[in-house]
Symmetry: none
């Protein structure tokens, strides 16, 4: 019922659902290795769980499509990843808990260095220190004159050379091309509308860039900025609204917290280690219906191309499974948002192994949690967007459709 | 081609298709049993058939969604179960071969008992005898004054405390809430429109309820009625129109006969035993192209939570497979409309095993007809609505799409 609001069928309940998401979990076999990262990892607890669970493979979007982190996660949470696709600017801003309003067009700022001819010499402003980023953002925010058509303009630092800007004003749209030419030796691009309705914001953005260039002129590194991922903010229906799930996100990286906030989840702050994520789950287990526990390093090590290190992350997560099972969640899902094979050093299109454990799951014959076994599992191969329906059904939180 | 009219591709033919539908066939393993109902059942003939067939799992609607009987069957017959979803009133009325017109808004009547304060004391009118139901319906039909905006009002008994009423009039819509509060000790609810276009029927329904209460006042049990499942009747394109299939339904329960009638199938009456259903198939085999043979007790025993009895029904059906095969249908499909695991005592979301046997099916390795084997079959996992396309193709009744 991807194209229908299956939330009409959602009922209330006391059951608890845990989504353990190992980012970039899926892999590809490698000539130097005897299999994929999941196949090589020693993970007795995950395999034991698979033996009592129903398994399958998830396509984040559809076969062959490599997703970004935003759509990959929206799909997992039952939000159609195409319909709910949003710009990087909004994702980045959500990561720092930006106080969005319905009138905001948001873009990501990359501070950069330009030469006296205006051409880019460093797209990351010499790997700007975060402290400098904070100082530069404050300076910009103080000195900028907001355009007459804006009710406000907000500039907020993120990390290193990255920041966000929100153009706040009634009736604005944000379908603009990036001003980042993606290489050094070129001039920053002028802002350009991708459709008719977004034309009115172009002079506003151009004015902002011109003022910013003047204000930053005396900076040694961050003497210019590039804008990327323009998007108009839109309010998403929350997990509570759609699924009657009071939801908690436990994540270490800002972007995943941001995704969770966009869906109305509560978000824990200040956690950096995997073991503390599982501890936080235990401490908060009585307070919520749904838990999104996000493991970042599987993806990071995959992006690094470090097969062995990705294997180690999987093995580390495996050691926390027994503790997690002691909490006795009604439904436990273990999967990834997408594949990040070390072989490819990037997100990929390969479907991701998934296991779902519940009293009613109808366990299958799969007893090893990896790509090749999961395709023979009882869930078969399905799009991620259906996972939430299956989880809610197993949690006894979905009524029958039709008479 | 769910969202497309694949019937454009349908060709005529002499081939015969049999759908043997064991209602609620799919199951779930149970701590006290060594597997699901299908796994425990001794069914050498179905297993032998599976060995020569192509197998898979069907999702009645989509993963995780538990269907009612109406949408579950519409899907099997190639009618999109979301698009063709209809109210219980129409399903119930179709079961008694109600003479629908395009101007009918239909609801199911539950006769009930109310106390002197008007509050419900028994929602089933003391399990009213069907004879009393017939008498009460005749009394109502005789004494009711049809509302000035109606061209007719028809009241027809079904069984026990259940009946149907059709409000016949031009331009009426039927999106109304049930008047059944679903518990005793409460007053029946007033009729309430769910949308603007259905507001005009509200006073008509209210007037009917008020008159009925007065007419039934002297009844010892059925002294009031509750209305449920309001729906405007709409004519479905028939199986003959869409698929060029002259179709026969062989079923023991009114609702399934009703579903078949809504799709233009001929329906045999007076059959109550499984053996007589198979006999009827044989007797009528030369007269039709398509046969819907419906087995009810798999679902009933599942709803009872009686695992062993559901196993026995499967074993009984198995004994009729050799006789069925002697008829030599070009395409034989064996599946269920949905799962009804004895463990859950209700319809469930679990996908249903399916086998399809034909000369051209491309048989797979599956040689045991059950949930865990079928997922490794050649059909994989698919939505029920695609089954009819596959059956027509195997019956050599579908032309090529595109040049």
């Amino acid at each position: 019922m991807k194209n229908r609001k299956f939330e009409e069928l959602v009922t209330s309940g006391n059951s608890k659902i845990v989504f353990l998401i190992m980012d970039g979990l899926g892999g590809v076999e490698n000539d130097e290795q005897s299999g994929t990262e999941l196949q090589v990892a020693q993970k007795p607890n995950l395999d034991g769980l698979a033996a009592k669970a129903i398994c399958g493979l998830l396509d984040p979007i559809s076969p062959g499509i490599t997703p970004g982190s935003g759509p990959a996660h929206f799909g997992l949470f039952g939000y159609d990843p195409v319909e709910y696709n949003i710009g990087r600017g909004v994702l980045e801003a959500a990561g720092i808990d930006f106080p969005f309003t319905d009138d905001d067009v948001v873009a990501r700022i990359n501070f950069c260095t330009v030469g006296s001819d205006g051409k880019i010499t460093d797209r990351r402003a010499g790997r700007l220190a975060t402290d400098d980023n904070i100082r530069v953002c404050e300076k910009l925010q103080k000195q900028i004159n907001k355009h007459a058509q804006l009710s406000d303009i907000l500039i907020r630092p993120v990390k290193e050379h990255r920041a966000v800007v929100a153009f706040r004003g009634k009736g604005l749209f944000g379908d603009l091309e990036d001003t980042d030419p993606q290489k050094t030796g070129e001039l920053p691009l002028a802002p350009k509308a991708l459709n008719e309705q977004s034309k009115s914001i172009v002079p506003i953005v151009a004015d902002f860039i011109q003022q910013a260039a003047a204000i930053l002129n005396d900076e040694p590194r961050a003497n210019m900025l590039l804008l990327r991922g323009f998007a108009k903010y839109r309010r998403f229906p929350t997990m509570l609204d759609r699924f009657k799930l009071k939801s908690l996100a436990i994540a270490t990286y800002p972007m995943y917290k941001g995704i969770a906030r966009l869906l109305g989840m509560d978000v824990l702050e200040g956690i950096t280690a995997i073991k503390d994520e599982f501890k936080a789950l235990e401490e908060n287990f009585s307070k919520y219906d749904f838990f999104f526990l996000h493991i970042k390093p599987t993806d990071s090590r995959g992006e690094d191309g470090d097969f062995a290190a990705k294997v180690k992350v999987i093995e580390e997560v495996d050691t926390f499974i027994p503790g997690l099972l002691k909490l006795n969640p009604d439904v436990l899902v273990v999967t990834g948002d997408h594949s990040t094979p070390a072989l490819l050093k990037s997100h990929s299109w390969h479907p991701v192994p998934v296991l779902l454990s519940s009293q009613f799951c109808r366990k299958d014959k799969v007893a090893i949690f990896d790509e090749l076994n999961c395709i023979t599992g009882g869930l078969g191969r399905m799009e991620s967007v259906y996972l939430m329906q299956v989880a809610l059904a197993n949690a006894d939180r979905l009524a029958k459709f039709g008479a």
